[in-house]
Structures are given as C-alpha cells and as structure tokens.
C-alpha cells in the first residue's frame, strides 16, 4: 500500500476547499510535502493552518478537493466524474500512517501513562502486549518520562502530559506527525523541555512533520520549509532562513514583525 519510493510526496493537497457554513477557510489550496520534510505553517489566527492539520487527521471533512498520502486517496477520490468520500475502512489503512499531537494533550484520564501509550498499538495495530510495553518503555525513556509509567495522567504537569502525548503518537510508528501548537498551553519555563524532545525526534527519525507553532526560533531550527498562510492561501513559501530574515511578501513582513516584536 505504502509508496515511499521516488518522488511521490508524503502529503499532497489538491484544490482543497474547506467551508464552515458561509465561512471559506481554505479555497482551492494546492501544496505537497516530500517524504521526510519538516514544514512549519505560520500565519495569523484564522488563516487556516490548524484546519490543514485537522483535515489531515480527518477531524474535519473536506468541502472539496483531494488529500493524498503517499499518493493514496485518503479522504476523497474521483470515481469517474464523481467526487466521493473514501470508505472508512480504506481511510483507516491510510490514517495509520498519520499521527497527531494536540495543544491540549488529550491524554485519556481513565488510563495510566503506559495504558495511554499501548492502547492503540495493541488494539489497532495488533501488536502483542509485551512488544507494545517494550516499545512504550523505550519511548518513555526517550521523552524522559520513564518514572511516571504507572501514574494517572492527572498526576502529571502540563509539560509531562505533552511529553506522554508525544510518546503516544510515536508509538503508532507514524510516517507523518502533525504538531498542532503543542507548546501553546504550557507555562513558558516548560516549553523548552517539550521542544527538546521534539528536536531530538526531528534529528533521530525521518518522520515527515507538519507543525503549527508560534515558537519561531524552534521553527527556524527544525524546519526545512516554512509556509506563510493568510486567508486560506499560501502567500509565501521559503526556507526558514529566508522567511525569517528576508521575507518578500508584505503580509509576511507585517506578521513576523507582530509576532517577533521586531
């Protein structure tokens, strides 16, 4: 099923449109992400960045267009001339390649830290419990949470919860990881811990990453490419160095000036 060879992009948006009622959030958006690339989406709130991640996680339904993962139809496809939704059964096969970390962590409070991590590897991927636990322990080690293995999630601080959430997403072995403002709900002094974890993942894996963040310094360090969004359109696209030091579009200059306070 997976086609990782050659130049098939990991993610491809074709004429993607998303409307909430009369409000058009994305209007005929086209872009693609090559395998293993790290992309940061920046732009003012309401510009459609988070919607892109939510569409990729199938938390929202498309209003038009297609999303392909490794060239495979994910949300919709054309049958002849007709634009139809991909059946849930096939969608699930593709969804296995995509993972997401949320702003509000969203750990399951009815499970311990370990149970949160092994739930889907065991019940969705069909791993043996022993194998899932071994993987979970390795991941907990990686995010520095080994000691909290058997804790309830509400005994953890926000930063700790987010590190568990990252481990939980990685336990599904995603090819694509979506990071939706993962440090926005954290106290400033904890943000660095979580970013360190993400930086290490970026350095030690070849997972394709799409991040929406307000941490511009971090975006600059880890991303290969930065996309500036405004009103559901990409207004500028550049490597981080160019984007942050020498943006060409007027809208980008205004935005960066506002967030960087420069």
């Amino acid at each position: 099923m997976t086609n990782t060879s050659g130049d098939v992009p990991a993610i491809e948006f074709r004429d993607v449109t998303k409307r909430f009622g009369d409000n058009v959030v994305l209007d005929g958006l086209n872009f693609s992400v090559p395998q293993g690339q790290r992309i940061t989406l920046i732009g003012p709130s309401g510009s459609g960045k988070t919607t892109i991640l939510r569409l990729l996680m199938t938390l929202e339904e498309l209003s038009g267009g297609l999303i392909l993962i490794d060239g495979d139809p994910y949300t919709h496809e054309y049958k002849g001339e007709k634009w139809v939704a991909v059946p849930e059964k096939r969608r699930r096969v593709v969804r296995n390649r995509v993972g997401m970390v949320f702003q509000q962590f969203n750990l399951f409070p009815n499970m311990t830290v370990l149970e949160n991590i092994i739930e889907s590897p065991v019940h969705v991927l069909g791993k043996s419990k022993a194998e899932a636990i071994a993987d979970a322990e390795r991941l907990l080690e990686k995010v520095g949470m080994s000691e909290k293995r058997d804790f309830n999630t509400n005994q953890l601080s926000g930063g700790q919860q987010q590190r568990v959430a990252i481990a939980r997403a990685l336990a599904m072995d995603p090819e694509i990881l979506l990071l939706d403002e993962v440090t926005s709900a954290l106290d400033p002094e904890i943000v660095a811990d979580v970013l360190d974890v993400l930086r290490e993942i970026a350095e030690t894996t070849d997972i394709t990453m799409l991040l929406v963040t307000h941490e511009m310094q971090f975006a600059r360090e880890v991303s290969d490419r930065v996309l500036m969004f405004d009103k559901g359109q990409i207004v500028e696209e550049a490597d981080p160095e160019t984007m942050f030091t020498n943006p060409s579009h007027e809208r980008t200059k205004e935005f960066l000036k506002a967030v960087l306070g420069g």
């Binding site: 996680m57 199938t58 938390l59 699930r92 969804r95 296995n96 995509v98 993972g99 997401m100 949320f102 509000q104 969203n106 750990l107 399951f108 409070p109 009815n110 739930e119 889907s120 019940h123 969705v124 520095g144 949470m145 080994s146 000691e147 909290k148 058997d150 804790f151 309830n152 999630t153 509400n154 005994q155 953890l156 601080s157 926000g158 930063g159 700790q160 959430a165 939980r168 997403a169 599904m172 106290d187 002094e189 904890i190 811990d193």
Partner: protein, 252 residues
C-alpha cells in the same frame, strides 16, 4: 401491638418472597433500562436522522406517559393483540422502558460532557467508533452518570410498587396483606416504609461503591478500595501515594 408483631413475624417468610419479587423487578427493570438508555442515548447523538428521529420519539413517548397507564396497557391491552406476557415480565418491560427513557437523557448528557478532544485523540490513534466509545468515552461518561442513575434506580424501586396493581405479590402487596390481617393501618404501612427504605438504602450504597470505583479509574478517587484498606502491605500504587507534582514539572 404484640399481636401485630406476632403477625409480622409469621409473615416474615412471605416478606422474603415479596422482597425477591421487588428486587427481580428492580434489577430486571434497571438492566433493561440501562441497555435502552445507552442505545437511545447514543442514538439521539448521531448525525443520521433515521436513527435520531425514532430515538427522540421513543424517549419523549415513554417520558411523557404515566407508568401506571403503561403497566395497565401492557398487561390488559396488549393481550388483546395476541401478546400475552407474565405480570413480572410486564413490570420489567414497563419499568425498563420508562426509566430507560429518563436514563437515556442522563447518558446523552454525560457523553456530551466528555471533552471533544478525547474523541479527536482517539481518532488520531485510529480507533474505530466502537473502540473509542468502549475504551475512552464511556468509561469517562460512566463516572459522571452514576450519581444520576442512582437517583433513577431509587425511583425505579419505588415505581415498582405500582406492579401490585397488575397482580404481582411484591413488598407493596405484602404490606396490604399485613394490614388486612392486623387491621392496623399505621403499623402495616410503617413496616412497608421501612422495608422500602432498607432496599433503597442498600441500592444507594451499592451505587456509591460503583461511583467510587469509576472515579478511581479516572484517578479522582478519594478512598482506597476495601481490599486496599484491609491489606497489610503499604499501597504501592502511585495513584494512592497522592504525590503533589511541583508546578514546574521538569525532566523526570
């Protein structure tokens, strides 16, 4: 008075039978009610009008009609159409439908108060709808709904007294029989009150245990389990250690 007490003692075996009938109705009715509540509670949340419509209609119908009339209807009218059920079955069905309709609102409300983020995280982990509900959503909603379901259960016990009118020999029947034998209204009905109170009290106690258990699963429990209380070993579960996390968290 001594005659009354002698009469009561003579009728204790009959009381055992009567309590059994009341409990059968209560547990049977409650079981049916919870199944109906879960089905209708989820049914009225779905997008599909074909599921949601009938769910709403059933809920509104059974909430909106009297339990006595439902009992009479099932017991006296349904046989006219060729469906004849035993009195106990009629009582269980009527109680189950009636309280199931009320409880479905409780289920619906509790499901709705589980944060949307929990559904989304479960989707991100590629769970099926059923998997999400069974392992993530319902366990959280369950802790919220138990206190309200406990109230309904007590009402159901008391509602079951109406089954006396369709010939069931329950606690209510026993009370009436006692009054007939002693001709002492005060004594007999007071005895009846006490019996119902004890049943309701025991059920409340049982529901409290369920609630405590459900809360502890969410790490919000306040009391250790009986086994943990009587255990000689110190609690090893970090859940009970009640450690206060420093606000900063930091690397563990």
């Amino acid at each position: 008075m001594t005659d009354d007490i002698q009469e009561l003692i003579d009728r204790l075996p009959a009381l055992g039978d009567a309590v059994l009938v009341t409990l059968e109705m209560t547990l049977g009715g409650a079981l049916l009610a919870i199944v109906i509540a879960v089905v209708l509670g989820f049914g009225s949340r779905t997008q599909s009008l074909w599921v949601r419509g009938p769910s709403r209609v059933i809920v509104e119908f059974f909430r909106g009609t009297s339990l006595v009339v439902q009992l009479f209807w099932l017991f006296y009218v349904l046989p006219v159409f060729g469906f004849k059920m035993e009195a106990l079955a009629v009582a269980i069905v009527a109680l189950g439908l009636n309280y199931g309709a009320y409880a479905s609102e409780v289920v619906r409300g509790s499901i709705a108060s589980v944060p949307q983020g929990q559904w989304e995280a479960a989707t991100a982990l590629n769970m099926t709808w059923f998997h999400k509900v069974r392992r993530v959503i319902f366990p959280q909603a369950w802790a919220l709904m138990i206190p309200m379901l406990a109230n309904l259960l007590i009402q159901l016990v008391k509602g079951s007294a109406l089954a006396y009118y369709i010939t069931l020999q329950d606690v209510n029947f026993w009370t009436v029989e006692l009054r007939r034998a002693t001709a002492d209204t005060f004594f007999s009905y007071t005895a009846g009150l006490i019996v119902y109170f004890i049943i309701a009290y025991l059920l409340t106690w049982g529901m409290n245990i369920l609630e405590e258990r459900a809360k502890r699963r969410l790490g919000r429990g306040t009391r250790p389990t009986l086994r943990e209380t009587f255990s000689l070993k110190p609690p090893t579960n970090p859940r009970l250690a009640n450690t206060q996390m420093p606000a900063g968290g930091g690397a563990a």
